[in-house]
Point group: C2
Chain length 344, copies 2
């Protein structure tokens, strides 16, 4: 089959790889219908060491079950399924408490001899635990929104949950990438009354407004903090969702947060230290979050996706076939595309 | 009257100051029965700039109402009251949500022309909001425990609440000072099943054991983290309470916390940055807490103090009169005393 490999910095190739086969009796083989490129894929895209053999990449996909191991109980060939961006047994103590990213038997797509998501098919470990069946025969738009359940929409939701967003809250969202926009949508869904989106790409912040943002702040750094404080009577936001991953964005998030509030961080940390000194100590501002346990949220988010209450698939503004994946990376990296959908 | 002033580094003096008088109609005058020295008083003790006039100090006290302003409704002369370590109106939105340390009209003892707690009497702003009446005619031991409601016991409780300690949890407490020991007591009171106290002063950790610590770890840094992980099957503690304030203690706390867990920080931050890089991001470890809104917790903690379920006053291991306050600072600073009670 064909799959995407990363050979080094800015070196993405689509090549022939072995077809996946069942290895453990808890495996399933999934034929990929839709995959996509993640903002977090751009970190290796911009920094990977040279690898002559290449490494499989991609961790978001939706597809049809093709085959199942003898111990798989809940899935059958032909079923449409979404895969969260890590696999997990869904039975260990971490999974039971909703932290599938720390599953005692879990792992990441493309590592440890598994397939990446940006290919034609994937061997899925712990298929019963990992995959979530989708009902019906959805159209293209619904497929795109279903695919976001793999990562980007639950990641935005995780930011909101981690920051303890409640009905009526004022929420600030730092970052207008696909994760930031998903965080806007998630905060809106959870009942936030006012959502201040910090971003300066008007095409993206415009989509943010349709997702529920009530205010847009194009400034950055101290000026952005000042604007958020102006918009909130001097107090700051009840909850702030950090969807970038740089320490400057984190500082903006912390300073934009109301006393007693929380920063929910989901931007993959490109920092080693968080600026939470005596100022935030006296204000009781904290920080939670991290890599999102998407699997824990899919059942909760699915009904609103199915009935169109939310349309998170609107973050995709370009679709490519597998051959178009290398250019998809380039386009996302150059901010020419917000998020690239792959239809293998 | 006599009161304590700080004139500079290691320069504590007891001097005559004007008797407090009612200034606003919401004020009360409280004659101090018991006060004490706080670990946080040692920060200025070790670093204050020279001040020829001196600055009033002390923020924990319990006493008897002597006089009240015309607008005071809930207090009458003769009543025994505890003062939390900041004053607050107890009616603004921050107070209503339990964050009295961010009260819109609040402030700290000894600042803005108010009295410090380490003196014979104190003018109390917003007396109805600030002071909490104590029942009965308590004996010395109960007075000591009641006095801890002013700061140190609610601060330990705030660490536990901020870290979301729940019944059955394994909790690690970093620091064996009076706050750390109070955090042990608070975690035990909230139902923690196992409490690992990190400290190396056996007289203090012995008291910690009577407060509920099930394990003591005398190692520091990476070795302490290793010990906590050994004691928890490799996982770390569900919640970790940071009661020191140095970044090394914070790093130990973060690394000792189980995936998905929270660090509750109450050690006054002597750091500008918190080491919460990609490791804690992937493990979803967060941090909450800060200066403790003692006022919000006093009513909840009081019944257990009154009936002897908890005896937080045992953190006091020395009692001085006002004239003994300078030596009390020295003794606490040299770790000769754990916490010094003042009986003016």
């Amino acid at each position: 089959m064909k799959a995407t490999l990363i050979h080094g910095r800015h070196d993405i190739r689509v090549a022939d790889v072995p077809d996946p086969v069942l290895r453990d009796d808890t495996d399933a083989i999934v034929r990929v219908l839709r995959s996509c490129i993640c903002g977090s894929d751009l970190w290796p895209y911009n920094s990977a060491e040279d690898s002559p053999g290449g490494n499989r990449i991609g961790h978001e996909f939706l597809g049809v079950v093709e085959d199942t191991g003898s111990a798989v109980r809940t899935l059958r060939p032909g079923q449409l399924v979404v895969a969260p961006f890590v696999w997990a047994d869904n039975t260990c103590d971490f999974c039971t408490q909703g932290l599938h990213t720390s599953c005692r038997h879990g792992g990441g797509w493309g590592s440890d001899g598994t397939d990446g998501g940006q290919g034609e098919a994937v061997r899925v470990p712990f298929a019963d635990g990992t995959l979530v069946p989708m009902p019906g025969e959805p159209d293209d738009a619904l497929l795109a929104s279903m695919l976001t359940l793999s990562d980007v929409f639950p990641t935005g939701h995780h930011a909101a949950v981690s920051a303890n967003v409640r009905r009526g809250d004022t929420v600030a969202v730092v970052g207008d990438g696909a994760v930031g926009l998903s965080a806007v949508l998630a905060a809106h869904r959870l009942g936030a009354e006012r959502i201040i989106l910090l971003g300066r790409h008007t095409d993206r912040t415009d989509l943010g407004r349709t997702f529920g943002a009530t205010d847009v702040v194009a400034e950055r750094g101290d000026e952005a903090v000042e604007r958020v404080r102006e918009l909130t009577g001097g107090d700051g936001a009840h909850a702030t969702l950090e969807c970038v991953g740089y320490v400057e964005a984190l500082r903006t998030a912390i300073e934009s947060t109301r006393d007693g509030g929380l920063v929910g961080r989901v931007g993959v940390s490109q920092y080693t230290d968080v600026p939470l000194g005596v100022g935030s100590f006296m204000r009781n501002v904290g920080i939670r979050g991290g890599v999102a346990p998407a699997r824990a949220y899919i059942e909760e988010l699915l009904p609103d996706v199915l009935d169109g209450t939310v349309r998170p698939g609107r973050v995709f503004d370009r679709t490519v076939g597998l051959d178009g994946v290398p250019d998809g990376y380039r386009a996302m990296n150059e901010r020419e595309a917000l998020k690239v959908l792959i239809a293998p």
